[in-house]
């Protein structure tokens, strides 16, 4: 006499079987472990701060203050390592004083060790006096290897501007009259100078997506093998129904993707005050990639075919995570992609500390997409199994 078996027991049995198969598939197992370690490693290797300073060496030392005047705010601190070289960081400029032009030249050219300066400005010793007398004055700008043209250009401009101010001062002119325009400067939006989001933080959504993507590929591979070998039809002559099989595949895919994403987020110290929102977003992301795995697994004819189809489906889903890396507003078509809501939540929780109240919009959008993609996946796989 056959004992009735509950659906939960059947689903659990299929999940156990799939987990065993996943464990035996060395390719995906190794890729999962190595990939996870790699993504976490990459995260910690990326710069944790934004370098928004141009380091400039100046000689003679007393002209450093004039250069610092170009910055909106002036803060003092930090030291250079060579004798009498005091580094002075301001907004956008860090000025290092050098005793002699020879030493400055040697440091910028890399011939001598010294403070890390990209550009050196060597003014003549009697710069102000020569300007006052109207004598010809030449300033040398030393430019190190790899300095972008706009920095070189700006430093040349800065030297000329210092000379204009020195000439104005010598004539006793009001500094406001030395500038040929009435300049009105307005900062638009929250001023993040000195508090920029570092590349490490901006990469977090993309790395989380890579983890989700890897599990999607593994699940697609598992499903494709079942379809190709038709073992799924063998399953259906047992007490397992098609719904049980689909539930088991969905549960396995979602839980694998979700648990790895959570592990990755935990090991990159992403969980702060907004941990619950982050978990919700990770779960929605896991369900979306599981939905794509159901489609590619059902449609793939062989290993390469499944891999190709998975990539075709997953690459567009990675676009919202990639756009986070770049400054500027997000294009409307990117906002229409299924993973946009999930990535938006990742960014706004980890970089700006936002909470449920501010993030319900992107979460609702992600939930809608989640239902659509997952529903499509179930439909495609169900139809495929029925045709076997």
């Amino acid at each position: 006499m056959a004992r009735p078996v509950s659906h939960a027991a059947v689903v659990a049995a299929i999940v156990r079987k799939d987990l065993r198969e996943f464990g035996r598939d060395r390719l995906w197992l190794i890729l999962t472990i190595v990939g996870l370690a790699l993504f976490i490693g990459v995260f910690w290797l990326l710069p944790g701060s934004v370098d928004e300073t141009i380091r400039v060496g100046v000689t003679p030392p007393d002209l450093a203050d004039t250069l610092i005047g170009f910055s909106a705010e002036e803060t003092r601190g930090g030291t250079g390592d060579a004798a009498s070289q005091e580094a002075q960081p301001t907004q956008g400029l860090e000025v290092v004083r050098f005793d002699s032009a020879a030493k400055l030249r040697a440091v910028v050219s890399g011939e001598a060790d010294g403070p890390d300066v990209a550009v050196g400005l060597a003014f003549p010793a009697d710069f102000a006096g020569a300007i006052e007398r109207g004598a010809p004055v030449t300033v040398t700008v030393y430019v190190a290897s790899g300095v972008p043209p706009e920095v070189r250009q700006a430093m040349e401009s800065a030297v000329r501007e210092i000379a204009y101010f020195a000439a104005g001062a010598a004539e006793g002119a009001d500094p406001a009259d030395v500038v040929p325009v009435r300049q009105e400067t307005v900062v638009l939006g929250p001023d993040r100078a000195g508090e920029q989001v570092p590349l490490r933080e901006r990469m977090r959504p993309l790395l989380a997506f890579f983890v989700l993507m890897m599990e999607s590929l593994a699940l697609a591979g598992l499903i494709a093998v079942e379809i190709q070998r038709r073992t799924v039809t063998a399953l259906l002559v047992t007490p397992a129904s098609l719904t049980d099989v689909l539930t088991a595949k969905s549960l396995l895919g979602t839980s694998l993707a979700f648990s790895e994403a959570v592990l990755m987020l935990a090991l990159t110290r992403s969980f702060g005050a907004g941990w619950s929102v982050l978990l919700a977003a990770a779960l929605l992301g896991a369900v979306i990639v599981t939905g794509t795995a159901l489609v590619s697994g059902a449609a793939g004819r062989d290993f390469m075919g499944t891999l190709f189809l998975s990539m075709v489906l997953l690459v567009p889903l990675a676009i919202p995570a990639v756009t986070v890396l770049f400054p500027g507003s997000t294009a409307v078509w990117v906002k229409a992609l299924p993973t946009y809501g999930v990535m938006e939540v990742f960014v706004r929780v980890t970089s700006y500390g936002e909470s449920w109240a501010e993030l319900w919009g992107p979460l609702a959008l992600a939930a809608l997409w989640c239902a659509a993609v997952f529903g499509a996946g179930l439909l495609v796989l169900r139809r495929k199994v029925r045709t076997l």
């Binding site: 390719l27 934004v50 928004e52 141009i54 170009f70 910055s71 909106a72 907004q91 956008g92 030249r105 050219s109 300007i131 004055v137 030449t138 300033v139 040398t140 700008v141 030393y142 430019v143 190190a144 290897s145 300095v147 972008p148 706009e150 920095v151 070189r152 250009q153 700006a154 040349e156 401009s157 030297v159 000329r160 501007e161 000379a163 204009y164 020195a166 500038v179 040929p180 325009v181 009435r182 300049q183 009105e184 400067t185 307005v186 900062v187 638009l188 939006g189 929250p190 993040r192 100078a193 000195g194 920029q196 590349l199 390469m304 891999l307 190709f308 770049f326 400054p327 500027g328 507003s329």
Partner: protein, 354 residues
């Protein structure tokens, strides 16, 4: 060996090849990588300051700004649009030039200059844009600067990151077509047993390998050239570039044939390529980090074709400058082909008993 039989197999692969995902990878991915590397990575690691200008009076300043190196300048129609773009961080800064700006400037009337700075712009970009703008204003004013500026540049031969990434993209094109496409074409036929069917016809195994290799070679040459064109890296020596690309494609294809004859199935092929992948792509990393000891790159076999390619395509070298490196690459290609012959004999013996 029969050229007619080789051509028949080649033609069949050329006809059926585009249906294979690997063929599509080999054609699409180098183009995609060019886009990603040139657009994404260069703006990620070397972001150029972005300046928007609303010019209500056709000022000379706008044209001068557009001619600046390293600064992206866009013209806008209205103040509100400029403010919106600066606030959304689509621009680092914005400039509004009123009508008659140039005339007022030259007459010493100190015209108004509205300068918007984006809150999310980098502090360094703010300094660059504000100082450069002031210098442009001085240039339009026409006043002689009270100082001469002499620039001593120690830049030497360091190329920008976007150029140093070109070897990576070209290597990718060569590996996908020369190595992967060639190897997969053979292993896939072996796995699906169609190779068994082929070699019971008058076609010999050597002819099949040569036909598969020829297809990989042709696609590798084409994709390497496409990648170089897309990256604007054609150098000044067309003959040198052609020879270098041909040698690079030949060596990639020879490596592909080694993998093709060594792997028994697709999984094994993946494992072999992944396991030895660092030996193939290793040298391109050294172009990204010019401060590393460059001699280490010479340990990798693929260095001997990628370095001549880099020098001819990007540094203006000619065939005369790189011939001895290409000779080493050809020597390595011959060594790989000797290995292919030995592995093909073993493969034929296995096919006979499988």
């Amino acid at each position: 060996m029969s050229a007619a039989r080789i051509f028949t197999v080649f033609r069949k692969d050329l006809k059926l090849g585009p249906r294979s995902p690997i063929f599509l990878y080999a054609v699409i991915l180098p183009v995609l990588m060019t886009f990603v590397v040139q657009v994404a990575f260069t703006s990620l690691f070397e972001p150029a300051p972005r300046l928007g200008i609303v010019d209500r009076g056709d000022s000379e300043l706008t044209a001068a700004a557009e001619g600046l190196d390293g600064i992206q300048v866009s013209r806008l129609d209205d103040d509100a649009g400029l403010r919106r773009l600066v606030e959304a961080n689509d621009l680092d800064a914005g400039l509004v030039l009123p009508p008659g700006f140039d005339d007022d400037l030259r007459a010493g009337r100190q015209p108004e200059l509205r300068f918007y700075i984006g809150g999310e712009s980098l502090a360094s970009n703010r300094v660059i844009l504000s100082v450069t703008t002031l210098d442009l204003v001085r240039a339009v004013e026409g006043a002689a600067a009270p100082v001469d500026v002499v620039v001593e540049d120690f830049g030497g031969g360091t190329l920008p990151l976007s150029s140093r990434l070109v070897p990576l993209i070209v290597m990718y094109a060569l590996v996908m077509a020369g190595v992967f496409l060639t190897a997969f074409a053979v292993v896939d036929e072996r796995e699906k047993r169609t190779l068994d069917a082929l070699i019971v016809t008058p076609v010999r195994l050597g002819e099949v390998l040569l036909a598969k290799g020829s297809l990989g070679f042709v696609v590798a040459v084409v994709m390497a050239f496409v990648t170089l064109v897309l990256n604007d890296a054609l150098g000044g020596s067309p003959a040198g570039l052609l020879v270098t690309v041909v040698v690079a494609a030949a060596m990639s294809t020879a490596l592909g044939l080694v993998f093709a004859t060594a792997a028994r199935n697709v999984q094994m092929l993946f494992a072999l390529i992944k396991g030895t992948g660092f030996l193939i792509v290793g040298p391109v990393i050294f172009y990204l980090f010019p401060d590393w000891p460059q001699w280490i790159a010479r340990i990798f076999p693929t260095y001997w074709f990628i370095d001549p390619l880099y020098r001819v395509a990007l540094q203006g070298d000619t065939l005369a400058d790189v011939w001895w490196e290409l000779a080493i690459a050809l020597g390595l290609t011959l060594a790989a082909l000797v290995a292919v012959v030995a592995l093909a004999r073993r493969m034929q013996a296995r096919l006979a008993v499988e």
